[in-house]
Symmetry: C2
Subunit: 218 residues, 2 copies
DNA sequence: TAATTTTTGTACCAATCGGTATGAAACACC
DNA sequence: GGTGTTTCATACCGATTGGTACAAAAATTA
């Protein structure tokens, strides 16, 4: 019983084989951290959900912080397709709009905890988790720079006027993403996020060209 | 030594007098929870910062959750002036703009931890803190309804056109507030938040009337 | 089958968690 | 001064925290 079927081209390494799939265990750990946050998740929570015991967890993933970092990588790998697809759309306006809608989809997806792991997991924490908090802030900043590079390209291509502050614009959309994450975590629906997106897109510079040229009130 | 000076009209109650000021202790507890979050804060953190010991804490404020609720009340009382001032400005546009700038001030105030307590303290948590998480989400929603009532009044007064969805508009500005909180927690400066505010105000309906009437591209 | 290697399950570790029992200390009142 | 009342400081509680030691179990290789 428990005989291991040798998969094609996978010569089993010596020693007792793992009784679990590390990839799937990582996926499960992601869900737990996503739902309970870094400090709110205990090793007991993890081992119970992953179906393994602590020594196996430590041998495979390292300590709690190391496992969490692997989880974050897994999460970003999982979301990277979304960003890549949006990034390569013909117009920057389309790219940003796609990012907002795709993220809204992900934030309210019924299969996952609502909200964004990078926001939920450790916005504030005790001293020992401070480095985790900072790492997450850095990861969040990455999405901002990603949008900024897309906007810069659009500016070079003439889609966005030269006088537009693309750094400010990308920070604005970053703020929208963070805000939607908090709202989704608090129970906002996909439809409600869509109305937020529609209003956010009003900040797009082609309408700004008019409103900044003229005074707001006539 | 340690003789208590009887303050005017304050007949000391019988028994040994408190050796600390509950109001100031609450203020200190606020700072700790604000910085470390609900789960990230231990009773040892609290007693050390407040300069009292656990039995005094329990006798005065109750258990950890009860203390936290008092802290949240203290926090909201502290911020209520900001909202009241903004609420009574003559135009809704001015009210919203004032709220955004005042909150941006508060979020990046050097004297306090950056970010908003209602967002930071418990976006995600373990099971035993779930009720705290939900209470915070409800408190956050209050600010949204507050803005919505202000917008409804403006609509009744004719400042905002009847066809505008004020629920969506208030949700949009709520999202901006949450997003700014996360950004501030991650290190955003006051000036950076201002650029976000300037762009957010582009969603205001008087400019929307133009852009929705005309197609975006000519 | 014997030797080797790796994983597994259990039992355990010190430290910390939130929360409390207890007796001494400090006040008001009489 | 004595009495009643409340707070103080210390020491303690069981439960849980993240993390490990250890030996049995399960695989490969020889």
């Amino acid at each position: 019983m428990g005989k291991v079927i040798r998969v094609k081209k996978k010569p089993l390494p010596p020693g007792r084989p793992k009784a679990f799939d590390p990839e799937q265990a990582l996926h499960t750990a992601l869900r737990v951290f996503w739902e309970k946050g870094y400090e709110g998740t205990s090793l007991a929570d993890l081992t119970a959900a992953m179906g393994i015991n602590k020594p196996s967890l430590y041998a495979t993933f390292g300590d709690k912080a190391a496992l969490f970092r692997k989880v974050v990588d897994h999460y970003m790998r999982q979301q990277s397709g979304l960003w890549n697809d949006a990034f390569h759309l013909p117009t920057a306006k389309g790219s940003i709009a796609r990012i907002l809608t795709s993220v809204a989809d992900a934030l309210t997806n019924g299969k996952n905890p609502h909200g964004c792991l990078l926001v939920q997991a450790a916005l504030s924490c005790g001293e020992d988790a401070d480095c985790i908090k900072e790492e997450l802030a850095a990861k969040r900043a990455e999405s901002g720079t990603l949008m900024r590079t897309r906007l810069l390209r659009a500016q070079a291509e003439g889609e966005i006027p030269r006088n537009v502050d693309v750094a400010a614009l990308s920070r604005f959309f970053s703020t929208i993403l963070r805000g939607m994450s908090v709202e989704a975590s608090g129970g906002a629906t996909r439809a409600q996020l869509q109305t937020v997106i529609d209003l956010a897109m009003k900040a797009w510079p082609d309408s700004a060209r008019q409103t900044t040229a003229l005074p707001a009130e006539v």
